[in-house]
Amino acid sequence: MDRTHLKYTLSWAGLVVMLFVLIAVMTIFDVIGQYGMTTLVLIGINLIAAVGLNLVIGMSGQFSLGHAGFMAVGAYATALIASAIPNIGGFILSLVIGMSVSGVVALLVGIPTLRLRGDYLAIATLGVAEIIRIVIINLKITRGPAGIFGIPNFVNWQVIFGISVIVIALVVNFVRSTTGQAIIAVRDNEIAAASLGINTTKYKVIAFVIGAMLAALAGGLRASFIQSVSPQDYTFMQSITILIIVVLGGIGSMSGTVVTAIILGVLDVILQNFGPLRMVIYAVVLIVVMIFRPKGLLGTSELSLKKLLFDTGDSHDNHSKNA
């Protein structure tokens, strides 16, 4: 395409490389320590899950409350398969199987519930997440409430960094594709979209299935990184954690999700000492943000390099010319 587009893509790539080098330097000189490194990896994992949820909530306008259930599917797939085949091939296979199973479950739940208007998906996904958890607790192969330990670790910060970048790039481009635009059209006005010949159910289901698959990916990576899984890790609370990232960042804003995932990950470390009060604070923040900014802090707007660097004159922010 034209030179602006190339420059734009290159500057994003440059930014990603710079960030990568920054983290690498921090690791070499041991600035952030082991604990900081773990936090960084967990931020990346939450980010992948949150990008998936934002596709469902922000782009297709459907409300899913079962993200933890889909993460659990991915986590247990990795726990079982990577433990049985403890090499990189087995790990990749486990991620693929986890994502596939999760996608199929999402398809089975999505088709009946997404035909309907209204908020049935919220309750149905909540129910499905609970069903998944109950099944995991009661099956022999998943070793009940105790969970599975000693899962081989194939994940380090470089892997998470790479996968996060790929996922974000794929999802952002997906949203700009014809399918992605159809999904947004359904969100903005379902009746208008249907009258233009868009199969509204189909596009809502597509967004939901992709969201569920990304959740499973995040779950699988997490299981391998922490090297253990247990049903308590994937309760309703986990769904809420991911939801908060999406809501605060801006429902429909991918860059908002990225920024919030990082800020909340760091905040979590700081607020660790507050224990239960942290949850009270999150609850109040959730209500207050909804009352004053019903679309989340960033709304649907994106932080855009294009606006910062290549202001072509159609943008209103003049200060960006100085950047």
Binding site: G127, E130, I131, I137, P276, Y282, L286, M290, P294
Partner: protein, 292 residues
């Protein structure tokens, strides 16, 4: 045979509490199309208020029940006023998230200020077992069914016979037309939340007395099940909520009776998916045309 009858009876008792909760969901959904996620937590608050009135103020059980209902009604009105009313014109998803925030706030707030441990609910009424042939039923079980039925009859009277009830039906049928007819929509919605919360609180106090313990998260699972009950009966339809509540209660008890008690919650959620697939409007629902 007698054991099946006994299980059915137990199911009806549990179902009565689900029915009380489901009524609140269905009324709120009927009037502002919101799944009130905080409803299960109002039930939890009701149980705590009952605990407070009986344990600390040493009131008679029935006075405590009525007071807990009254205070919870107030809480329901405040929740609507603070967290839902400012979002009346916002996208639906914003109100849902706000409702979730309220639910989260009540659960974690109660855990933070009053501890997350289970508390023993005072035995305000001594348990007496009655035997009818091979069936046995306690006075507390009779009390639950009796209270639930009395409250449901009361609700029917309010909705069908009073001016406020007529306003509720009008707002739920067509909000804009209701405004044109001079109905104060805000007051009607507040009233709906008050009634729904009072019924939930009654359920909470009764279940506290029945199971002998309460905790800040006790509303989560019954809340979801009651919502499933409301959908099963036909969301927005008041008799449907009662029917759905009893059906879910019976189903849950029967699942336990056939030895699948580990899966009793999963069965209820499974039912939800089946209804959405087969008849999304619920058992008593009619297919209405969607308006553009």
């Amino acid at each position: 045979m007698s054991s099946i009858l006994q299980q059915l009876l137990n199911g009806v008792i549990l179902g009565s509490v689900y029915a009380l909760l489901a009524l609140g969901y269905t009324m709120v959904y009927g009037i502002i199309k919101l799944i009130n996620f905080a409803h299960g937590d109002v039930y939890m608050l009701g149980a705590y208020f009952g605990y407070f009135f009986i344990n600390v103020l040493h009131l008679n059980f029935f006075i405590a029940l009525v007071l807990a209902m009254a205070v919870s009604a107030g809480v329901g009105v405040v929740i609507e006023f603070v967290a839902y009313r400012p979002l009346r014109q916002s996208p639906r998803i914003a109100v849902l998230i706000s409702a979730l925030g309220v639910s989260f706030l009540l659960e974690n707030g109660m855990s933070y200020f009053f501890g997350s441990d289970k508390r023993a609910f005072p035995q305000a009424i001594a348990t007496v077992q009655y035997h009818f042939g091979q069936l046995q039923i306690s006075n507390i079980q009779l009390l639950i069914i009796g209270t639930a039925v009395v409250l449901m009859l009361g609700l029917t009277l309010i909705v069908q016979k009073t001016k406020m009830g007529r306003a509720m039906r009008a707002v739920s049928a067509d909000q804009e037309a209701a405004i044109l007819m001079g109905i104060n929509v805000n007051r009607t919605i507040s009233f709906t939340f008050a009634i729904g919360s009072a019924l939930a609180a009654a359920g909470g106090v009764l279940i506290g007395l029945y199971y002998n313990n309460i905790d800040p998260l006790m509303g989560m699972t019954p809340g979801i099940k009651a919502f499933v009950a409301a959908v099963l009966g036909g969301i927005g339809i008041i008799p449907g909520a009662a029917l759905g509540g009893w059906l879910i209660g019976i189903l849950e008890t029967l699942t336990q009776a056939i030895g699948l008690s580990d899966y009793k919650d999963a069965v209820v959620y499974g039912i939800l998916i089946v209804i959405l697939l087969w008849k999304p409007t619920g058992i008593l629902g009619k297919n209405g045309r969607e308006k553009v």
